[in-house]
Point group: C2
Chain length 180, copies 2
């Protein structure tokens, strides 16, 4: 798929078909996520792909039931957890290089996850970025080692809804020239 | 350009030609950045495009001279500042919805910046994500209002170096199945 087409047509999807994701397709999407850049090439981002129904239930339980992606956490054939090794992005010799500390782990996760979501869309699949969940419980469910945190989750599967297009604010509000 | 080609061939570039960036090209890249998703569609990310030489110098002065992108901050025809309105992404009714607080502003900036960097590459342009700078001074240089922070910077222009390809870790280290 053409890049701009993927960027403009990707939507957040919360209803999924049960259809399985072929492993070669999954491999390409994961590879896309890995190609994102990272702070000083620290490669702090990692993913866990979950198809085990019990693990999907355990992850779903880390979301509030009011989260609009709650049902998709078990309805989609796969859930992908984006994790980050802490104290790498934004750090130098083990010390924070900026006041943002491990905020840079979230930044790098965003870079990687955008690649992932674009690649998924280009393969006819859908995603929705989930940030509102109990990260500690999710880490326990996935056996994440000390120093690794689950940053964001997404269901992954074929979409089963007509996607919305939420309106963007005016370009003049988004982009400025030389100063505010 | 094809999506996977953009994802795999984008590189971090630190030497730029002086050649100006045509305004229609710039418009397309900025639009791509705006199409990224955001926390509850909060659209907290904004950009400032800088071509004023004095402003570029002022931004350069917010980087340590040892930053490998230091020279590019004035050598490239444009610098783009990715800013975020705080207390939106990751917040609900003005209160943090997760322990990560405004870390989600960095996450959303990452999503948008990846779109931007891919679109730039597809137009033959280059970028490099700069996170190591004095954000407060950069905000002052750009007249950022209260509650808006400069998260990351990138030069933008035509590349003037043969890009490196830093090796990625093994796929097995990047992606796991069901658990760590």
């Amino acid at each position: 798929m053409e890049l701009y087409e993927a960027i403009k047509e990707r939507r957040s999807i919360r209803r999924y078909k049960e259809t399985a994701v072929p492993s070669d397709v999954l491999d390409r999407i994961i590879e896309a996520a890995q190609w994102a850049p990272s702070w000083a090439h620290s490669q702090c981002v990692e993913v866990v792909v979950i198809d085990d129904p019990a693990k999907k239930l355990a992850l779903q339980a880390t979301l509030p039931e009011t989260n609009p992606a709650y049902k998709a956490m078990v309805g989609a054939p796969l859930v992908v957890a984006f994790c980050a090794k802490l104290n790498r992005a934004g750090f130098k010799k083990g010390e924070p290089a900026t006041p943002r500390g491990n905020g840079w782990a979230l930044f790098d996760t965003g870079l990687s996850m955008q690649n992932f979501m674009l690649a998924a869309h280009s393969e006819g699949l859908a995603t929705v970025c989930v940030g509102l969940f109990d990260s500690e419980k999710a880490g326990a469910a996935l056996g994440a080692p000390e120093g690794v945190e689950v940053v964001a989750l997404t269901p992954l599967g074929y979409p089963n809804q007509e996607p919305n297009l939420p309106p963007r604010k005016d370009k003049a509000e988004f982009a400025r020239k030389n100063s505010y």
